[in-house]
């Protein structure tokens, strides 16, 4: 099939919105998941620490492809039939929760113990200590590594193509098969990913430098 360059680019750019949407879903879901894990971790120190350790170990110690396969084939077994975007969204949410929880735990741990003590001395309960005292301070140092993780997450969405979700990488495969121009097509696909990820990388680096200067 003969396809002019402009059509290829437009087709791939159109597919990019699915990559962006999936990244957004995974980031939002992962953020909520990580927050819940953190509440568990600090609300029930002994059990929570063990659970978090287990959860993070499982998701950082197995391939994301396998995690997506398990969600994709596992949900129907529970009688839940989901379209690929939901399966991919859930899989990536679980994955992002593990990484974000691990990053944010480091940030919460960096807040001096005295802040917790001061909170409880003022009669704040656990949630008030966490929400009003600890998290606002942890947030400041959490921003640069979180933005850095976003790069990783955008790249991770490429694996959703394997469970049949048509995002940027899958569209690249489709166009490449149709046009017999894999070199050109995958160069454009790579360039689009680069255009999405590199600004995030730079942003993370800049924020990190700012933060280290302010301290």
């Amino acid at each position: 099939m003969d396809m002019p360059l402009s059509n290829i680019v437009i087709y791939l750019l159109t597919a990019t919105r699915w990559t962006l949407l999936l990244s957004a879903i995974a980031f939002a879901g992962g953020g909520i998941g990580a927050l819940l894990l953190l509440l568990l971790r600090y609300g029930m120190p002994r059990l929570g620490a063990r659970l978090l350790h287990l959860y993070v170990g499982l998701f950082q110690g197995t391939p994301l492809v396998q995690q997506l396969f398990l969600v994709f084939y596992g949900l129907p077994l529970l009688g839940i039939d989901v379209p690929p975007i939901v399966a991919a969204g859930i899989g990536l949410t679980l994955y992002a929760s593990a990484f974000l929880a691990e990053i944010w735990r480091g940030c919460v741990d960096a807040i001096p113990r005295g802040q917790w003590d001061a909170g409880s001395a003022l009669g704040l309960n656990f949630f008030m200590q966490m929400w009003d005292v600890i998290l606002p301070q942890a947030l400041r140092i959490a921003v640069p590594p979180t933005v850095g993780f976003l790069t990783q997450l955008v790249k991770a969405t490429a694996l959703a193509s394997i469970v049949g979700f048509v995002e940027l990488t899958k569209s690249g495969q489709i166009v490449s098969n149709a046009t017999f121009q894999p070199l050109l097509v995958y160069s454009i696909v790579a360039a689009i990913y680069f255009a999405l990820c590199y600004p995030l990388t730079l942003c993370a680096r800049l924020l990190e430098r700012k933060l280290s200067q302010s301290r």
């Binding site: 499982l58 110690g61 197995t62 391939p63 994301l64 492809v65 396998q66 995690q67 396969f69 398990l70 084939y73 596992g74 077994l77 529970l78 009688g79 790069t151 790249k155 991770a156 490429a158 694996l159 193509s161 394997i162 990488t169 690249g172 495969q173 490449s176 121009q181 894999p182 070199l183 995958y186 160069s187 696909v189 790579a190 990913y193 680069f194 990820c197 590199y198 990388t201």
Partner: protein, 222 residues
């Protein structure tokens, strides 16, 4: 709920599991060796090389780190033949993994090199040792010791990421899973077992390197 999990269906495929494991570990070992060798040169260039060489290494690192591994692999396997470089699936997988790993480990090693006290290099120079030898025998061992845990993590991540090579029909662990599930129709059970195998491999590789690290850099690596 009508579905009964049946792991027994997989019992006959033990040999295939082992083969897949062998391929995954083999790919990782080759890519780790080549990638680390490459990144020693890259990191040395990035921290001490001429300006144009530094820019070239930096561009390489950024290009690889800001694009997905699977796209790099497709580019190598499907794209490069157009330029006359036709690789087998296995060669393409090794090349893609090596390129990917090296970009990350260049950054890691560079940080390690920059953390070595300048006095070490100066002491070497004062003793009349050639700069190349100072780098190889004085700076590099300390640099590696500085960042050893990060390098090990990167190797484990490369192994886990290599699950993607099944997409170009390399017969690794994930490919074995695809094969078995298409024969047994037991997709969930198969992927569950394979996931556990990956987890065990990741833990074992980590342990092995930690053990090696304690011997190689006695007292320097936690």
């Amino acid at each position: 709920m009508g579905y009964q999990l049946d792991f027994g269906a997989l019992a006959g495929y033990f040999g295939l599991f082992l083969e897949g494991m062998g391929v995954t570990l083999g790919l990782t070992a080759i890519a780790a060796s080549l990638g680390l060798a490459l990144s020693i040169g890259g990191a040395a260039t990035a921290s001490r090389g001429r300006r144009w060489a530094r820019v070239a290494v930096l561009a390489y690192v950024e290009a690889i780190r800001n694009t997905p591994f699977i796209v790099q692999m497709f580019f190598i396997f499907f794209g490069l033949p157009e330029l006359g470089l036709r690789l087998t699936a296995m060669q393409a997988a090794v090349l893609a993994m090596t390129v990917n790993l090296s970009a990350y480990s260049i950054e890691i090693l560079r940080a390690g090199i920059e953390a070595v006290a300048p006095g070490q290099r100066e002491a070497g120079a004062a003793l009349g040792i050639k700069p190349v030898e100072v780098f190889i025998f004085v700076v590099l061992p300390q640099a590696v010791a500085n960042v050893y845990p990060a390098l090990v993590s990167q190797i484990v991540m490369t192994m886990l990421e290599s699950a993607v090579v099944s997409q170009i029909a390399v017969t690794d662990l994930t490919h074995v899973a695809d094969l078995i599930q298409s024969r047994t129709y037991r997709a969930f059970e198969t992927y569950f077992v394979i996931t556990v195998v990956y987890l065990v491999l990741a833990v074992l590789v980590r342990r092995l390197f930690a053990l090696a690290g304690r011997r190689l850099f006695a007292g320097r690596v936690g």
